[in-house]
Symmetry: C3
């Protein structure tokens, strides 16, 4: 996390419809500023609550220079405690996950309750106020089993405003009754904004993602490959007949339809959509066949892919039988971790109800391709000759993200 | 070594009785300032003279960006020569230790005598003054066989004032007639001040050092585990009966007793003490049995541990039959080398008189634990949420060190 | 490549006849300034054109943060295209060498012709001007088969003025009808100026290069070991009898003789010479025997070594039967790549006409020694105690280079 406040770097050189000048993708001062103004103020999708079902279960989540102990207390509440002893600052918890009865710092044995309160500290002398030295906390919220954390030192953004409007899209998928079948991290040597820009357009899908393209119809990828606002002009219109037909059927089944995407003026740059995958595909699998039991209130394999963008760092992509949760964690000016969680119904049994290798296949291949693409992009924008080029008709979402980013940044 | 003088970083945010704000443990500018104001002005304990007994014997000592050739000349004097050819600045000496008749730079064959004087340089033309181009020297001093170096560009601190008051504690241990039985380096990813703070309190001994605690009585560790000033309030008083009894016996044998520790106003923050180890232990060994022949004028295994702190970077811990020399070498803002030398009587024969593995056991285990502890501390103080917490009654020596450091720093 | 223009670092502390103050060999700001004022403005010798004989052949050349695609178009013209897509800045070309029909960016499939013009970009909408988005180009020139590149954003230096005066020395060696038999890179942890200084004097040859010294007469090495201006005073005069005798014979054969070396006031600090290698040696081989068929218009093994210095980063050393091309590529303040190409006649057949291991032997050994020497020099000049020492009578060329460098720098 960045030190004291600094002056805001200049945003000169920006032009709507183009990506950012090169320094925005490598400058350490801009990265620190990004961290303070965006990563440390947003609600970040961190994991699924099923990771810590029992009292005392915990895992460590690290972002920037921070380590958070995400753990469940005796009242089954989840806390995000800064992993920094209030005595002399040692890490309190050294294992990446586990189960504890209390947290004892390995240095001087200061001992904290599962809710972070200081329980014992030897020889502190008279006048020491135990109540003042609990572990510091980040804010937490849960939505449909998805755990969010906010590092804001003061009050976090209103969670209901943040999550409420996305709820109708999530509800059918029963994510609160899910479990994590597979998780994988893709460390990417690129600035977080290049990772986001890549995720907000499908202009690159045809050149770069043959596997993904096989699962979706070309018309859909061109019009809405990266959700609402993917394409400008009449590109979206061309897909409207196929879409209207599918939406009518979905509405008949009582499923949510439609889509929306926030503009540059919004607080979180959210989006949501429910769109069909390719004809002949029941879910995003190589052969189009189901990967796992149906989830939530979904009654049939209806070809739907629900996409929810909580903010540019936090995503859910839900099919009828599984969901992929994606979090982008900025690590440094040219380093971002992409972590993917594949969720299935909590009662599904590995080997019987789902095959982990088949489950991850389409998105694992795609995310590996994205890592290579994005790292090549990072290498190129280092050049002194790089200047932002014009976005295509398929990159309006990228243009809007850049504009949104610069408003937050300034 | 740091470049030209810079403005002094602010020491605001400091409060007596607490550790330092986070930036003091990671900022490169503060590290450079520390190097100039502390590491480069103190007498640093570097090694034992027995390492280079013969004419032409040398070893390289590196600190910051500097490499020093520590070598013995034809008059048996020891010099600390900067390993920088006066011609175009090449390293003159490439091996980490050895024996030479003269020093010939491998680049252009400028040749220096063992005392650093330039002896030969080909084709330098008329007017070249050989006498002006000897290797530059750091200051050196020897105390009881311990070699000290000072990098101060001008006159070093008065060595008699520095070492004289500690001599009574060292004399009985015969360190001038010792040899290095074992040496080991513990590279530690932490700021040098965290390494020092850890060494100045025994509050952490019980949670972190079970082996060390077995060798010492709990009362001693609480009262004087890190020497005089380890504990405040009545903690020291509790050990006073046992101590007085042991000191009376020591005085009867003509041994030095007592202790002292400098305060924040001092130049070197020195300390010395002679205290008993645990009942039933003759020396700091796992089983309490002797590890090597008695040293110096010590006549019997009297349970004494003599601790001498020359300055926060230079320590000797002497038992009746061996001594441990510790030097802390700052390498970077978050990197410090801890080097330990185990000394025994120069006539002791490995295998017959001492077993190297047994000799190092207690302190090797303890120093490995200290490395882990200190690195966890460094990881935690990186957090933007870290604030200095209050020191316990066992950490008055740490409080004083921090105050001493800030006086030197300012 | 360095960001926007900055203020020029001070050149105070410089004295003619000595090397530079320490900061010139490690400071990142000075390195960036060097890059802008020297590496990015000079014609840099990059490779031999035989590397890309066919239409579509290419290789990547990287320097600083830049990657250039050096490729041959359908008119057999060679271009140096910046490897940065004009759309969003991705690397266009990922393999280090190969043959292509066109260049298609792997990200969004923007496709460029072999001359860099944008041929196709999907869905760019109305008003998109394809002609404005060709790949950016660096300047290129060819001289005797040697390929030069200049990164200057505006007009490059006049190539005829740059190369014309060196042509008489190159012409006899037939480098345009040569091929690269072997290439090798020597990554060196040292500032580029230390690499250059080492290359401009032979004062170090006797201590450091026994193999090289065996191939040349001692008198020649002392007088002209690093070309004209190697030695001052009467050192050159001593070799004049042997030289005059050899030059008379060369002139009789119609070969160029003589030498010149630019001074500090020049634009490129060029030099050229034609000098004999040691008696009994026909070429720079371990045993003095020929290594490959005669090249160019050379009619006999006449012991000649032609040395051409295009600028301090670009060298050719030609014997009767082979030539060594050297390029020094600055990578960072303390990192420089030395790349060597051994050229032989294009019709020579490996195994029959030349043995690659024998071909490279003398200079490969010498360049490996230079790497070690120069890295030791870098280590030494880091010291706070380093001050520039006086150059010997054999280092006048180094003195002049330093003066030339400071003029360019200021």
């Amino acid at each position: 996390m960045a030190p004291e406040s600094k002056s805001t770097p200049s945003t000169s050189g920006f032009q709507y419809g183009r990506s950012l000048p090169g320094r925005f993708y490598s400058d350490i001062a801009i990265f620190d500023h990004d961290f303070r103004t965006i990563a440390a103020t947003q609600w970040l999708l961190v994991d699924h609550v099923s990771r810590i079902p029992h009292i005392g279960d915990y895992f460590l989540f690290s972002i920037g220079g921070e380590s958070l102990i995400i753990l469940r207390d005796r009242e089954y509440q989840i806390h995000a405690l800064y992993n920094v002893c209030r005595h002399r600052g040692s890490r309190v918890c050294l294992n990446s996950s586990g189960r504890v009865r209390s947290l004892t710092c390995p240095y001087h044995a200061w001992t904290y309750d599962l809710d972070g309160r200081l329980r014992a500290a030897a020889a502190m002398g008279p006048g020491f106020d135990t109540a003042s030295y609990g572990l510091r906390k980040a804010h937490t919220q849960i939505e449909h089993g998805l755990l969010f954390v906010c590092l804001a030192p003061e009050a976090p953004p209103d969670f209901e405003l943040f999550a409420g409007r996305l709820r109708p899209y999530l509800t059918p998928h029963g994510l609160a009754e899910a479990k994590v079948a597979v998780r994988h991290v893709y460390p990417t040597d690129a600035n977080w904004k290049l990772v986001v820009e890549n995720f907000l357009e499908c202009y690159h899908c045809k050149p770069a993602h043959p596997t993904y393209c096989a699962v979706h119809s070309p018309g859909k990828l061109l019009a809405f490959g990266a959700g609402p606002g993917s394409a400008s002009g009449d590109l979206a219109a061309k897909f409207s007949v196929e879409l209207a037909e599918w939406e009518a059927e979905a509405a008949k089944q009582g499923m949510v339809t439609g889509m929306f995407g926030d503009g540059p003026e919004s607080d979180y740059f959210q989006a949501a959509s429910r769109l069909p995958i390719g004809r002949g595909y029941l879910t995003e699998s190589i052969d189009g066949l189901p990967l796992a039991p149906l989830m939530g209130s979904v009654k049939a394999f209806d070809r739907a892919q629900t996409a929810v963008v909580f903010n540019p760092l936090s995503y859910v992509l839900a099919n009828s039988d599984h969901a992929v949760v994606l979090r982008f964690t900025p690590r440094g000016p040219c380093s971002t971790d992409i972590e993917a969680l594949w969720l299935v119904h909590e009662d599904a049994v590995e080997g019987r109800d789902y095959d982990p290798l088949k489950l991850v296949r389409v998105w694992d291949v795609t995310l590996r391709e994205d890592k290579v693409i994005t790292e090549n992009n990072q290498a190129g924008v280092r050049s002194a000759t790089y200047t932002p080029g014009p976005h295509s008709l398929h990159e309006t979402r990228v243009s809007d993200f850049v504009a949104w980013y610069l408003r937050r940044f300034a």
